[in-house]
Symmetry: C2
């Protein structure tokens, strides 16, 4: 076998629900030379990352750090570190990632209760409140922004509910963090985990996360330092966390001044996470979110300008993704293929009940830009016309321009 | 708070037990633009990675792929995917990473049996064979090369032993793969997991792994596709794997032609893993290992030329790391600090029973080079002399030169 050649990817504008084009600054940061695991530069960089993500998560939580996995692993790290077999969890399910929280919690051995809302809608507060009263779970686990449905779940009142029942509030902010308002401390969120590959404009492979002092206490009470590096006097838990890799009590120690060895930090992913946060915070978190709101609105109105229907509860739409109902008689995958192959633009398909019915178009991170929005709308118009779908000439681009003009 | 500035690490020559300086080609590969998760370029790249790592692992195993975590997560993925609570595991413990296998297997709920050898020695075959006969475990889990002790465990006869008892043979090759001979199929190894940050010359954060058809069968029998993407007729296991993220049956599906969505592949880490393997295979696996053997021998003889004692069973020494007994009266950490701060060279400390007693010096991946070896020896001599340790002038460099001359 001859060897495959150097990497030579085609030019792509990634306007799906993520991953999207990483910011070129993040890509450059990833070619930065490595240092040793305990080099003063490394430990200082880890501390900087903690402080940067405190600002991204709007929190004072000491335990704000990176989990060395994709966003999905971050969810599992949070849940497996707090949940013991038999613990009760309540999950509102309004899309694919609610199902994922259920699935992960079940694998932790938890007793999982759900409330359900239709895909594309939010879960009403009353529904959650009633279930909380009945179940009184150890953890309320909520997807904040679910790209599978494009909807953002309001957190109003959830913190108070959790206080009432002594429940930990967990939020999956993978798809929302950075581009949608999320106030960890003000909303009483105990644990939030995210990912780089959506609004933060980095590659998949690192999960920024934050843990309140209460969550930290619950997790540290389960601490069990592994043989081989255990000192006398170190704790050995009766019911240790069922994962070593995702045992946050050990990850906390690794990120603490004690620097107790756990995994070997994925240095390049840390470099990426650091640069992603710097980009957000240089612009300012408020301005960054406003930019997502603007380009998300331009895309949504552009879609409507093409005569297409927007999917879901637009009052609660995430800033960074819009669902587009695939019109009658149009073959959704044929359109996506032509967009990709002929225009180099990726838009997203959907899962589960929305498969084949909805495209998802993202405007996030580096791609929350006017040129990306207008180019995508122009290409979509061209492709739909060639697929035989009649639509107003220039209607998408015109509507997007109108949004930009009004905002100027 | 002002923001931290752009990444600006100090110049470092990383001659510890890993991570080491990533190959500049790997670093450059990591700034390659992203593509979508199911882009034809992405799926082709995944297939290329599978084929490249089949050659690195010297295997025909279909299931040869990347686990999106550091090497430690790769170990956990392997063990949690095969082990059900109560299953028996046998682990030879001769260093820190044997303890880690024990710890991870215990967290999987397994009944763990061990045989022990002193740190720095290999576990004798008879010891393992006797325990195998007694325990008849589901899994024999063995660290191939343990950087904590610098020793490589012989696998002769282990495959046959496992055949006899219907046992799966698992190997942790994190520290050895690429730079030390490892023959997955010829040795009857069912599962091996590695990491990029040692001989493969990449950053931590991706775990190349391979699974035999037998291991695949055992894992797939436990398959449980998650709600939200489950089709009618898809399996729901009675005793599902206790992790979602590390459920290899789902990871196999993701890497199969079915491309069933699981996590979002860490594209940049995949780019790194692909380039790492290309570098190994361009040189040729045999030549790559011979290079590690040469520079490892030069470093070892250089250390001896400085009048220092080499730690452990040198007959079974890994090619890529040497243990150096810290001489009486020398403060090990003071030497390491001076090496790092004054010369920009990192050498390693040790864990557990070897802490404070042994330095570990690596020669691996991009750093398995003559200039790296000679520079490190010259610096170590200078530092030791300033620390008041009398030693032969130029003795380290001379001995290394002698090794190179004999090999020329």
């Amino acid at each position: 076998m001859t060897l495959p050649g150097p990497l030579n990817p085609p030019s792509r504008l990634l306007m799906g629900p993520g991953p999207i084009n990483a910011d070129p600054r993040v890509l450059r940061a990833m070619s930065t030379p490595l240092v040793g695991q305990y080099d003063p530069f490394m430990t200082r960089s880890m501390n900087e990352v903690m402080e940067l993500y405190r600002r991204v998560f709007v929190t004072g939580n000491r335990q704000t750090l990176l989990i060395d996995s994709t966003a999905r692993g971050g969810i599992e790290a949070a849940l497996v570190s707090v949940l013991e077999p038999g613990d009760k969890v309540l999950v509102p399910v309004m899309g694919r990632f609610g199902h994922l929280l259920v699935e992960i919690a079940q694998r932790c051995g938890a007793e999982v209760h759900t409330v359900e809302a239709p895909w594309g809608q939010v879960a009403p507060y009353e529904l959650i409140a009633d279930a909380m009263a009945k179940v009184q779970p150890k953890v309320l686990a909520v997807v904040h922004g679910d790209t599978s449905t494009t909807v953002v779940q309001p957190f109003d009142g959830l913190g108070e509910l959790c206080d009432r029942y002594g429940t930990l509030l967990y939020a999956d902010v993978t798809a929302s963090i950075g581009g949608n308002e999320f106030l960890t401390d003000a909303w009483g969120v105990d644990i939030a985990t995210g990912g780089l590959q959506k609004c933060l404009g980095g590659p998949s492979g690192s999960a920024p996360a934050t843990f309140s002092a209460r969550a930290e206490g619950i997790i540290n009470a389960r601490k069990s330092i592994e043989a081989g590096i255990r000192d006398e006097g170190d704790a050995v838990a009766a019911h240790p966390i069922r994962s070593n890799y995702f045992d946050m009590s050990m990850v906390f120690d690794y990120w603490s001044e004690r620097r107790l060895n756990h995994h070997t930090e994925a240095t390049t992913m840390l470099y990426a996470a650091r640069e992603s946060a710097r980009i957000v915070l240089e612009e300012g978190l408020g301005a960054f979110q406003a930019r997502h709101a603007l380009h998300g609105r331009a895309m949504m109105e552009g879609v409507r300008g093409l005569g297409l229907e927007v999917f879901g509860d637009v009052e609660h739409k995430m800033t960074n993704v819009v669902g587009v109902v695939i019109p009658e008689g149009v073959h959704g995958e044929a359109v996506r293929t032509r967009m990709l192959e002929d225009f180099g633009i990726e838009i997203g398909t959907s899962f589960g009940p929305l498969a084949g019915k909805v495209w998802r178009i993202g405007t996030m991170g580096y791609n929350a830009r006017q040129d990306a929005v207008l180019t995508t709308l122009a290409a979509l118009e061209a492709v739909l016309r060639r697929e035989g779908f009649g639509l107003p000439a220039g209607g998408g681009v015109d509507e997007a321009y109108r949004v930009y003009a009004e905002a100027a």
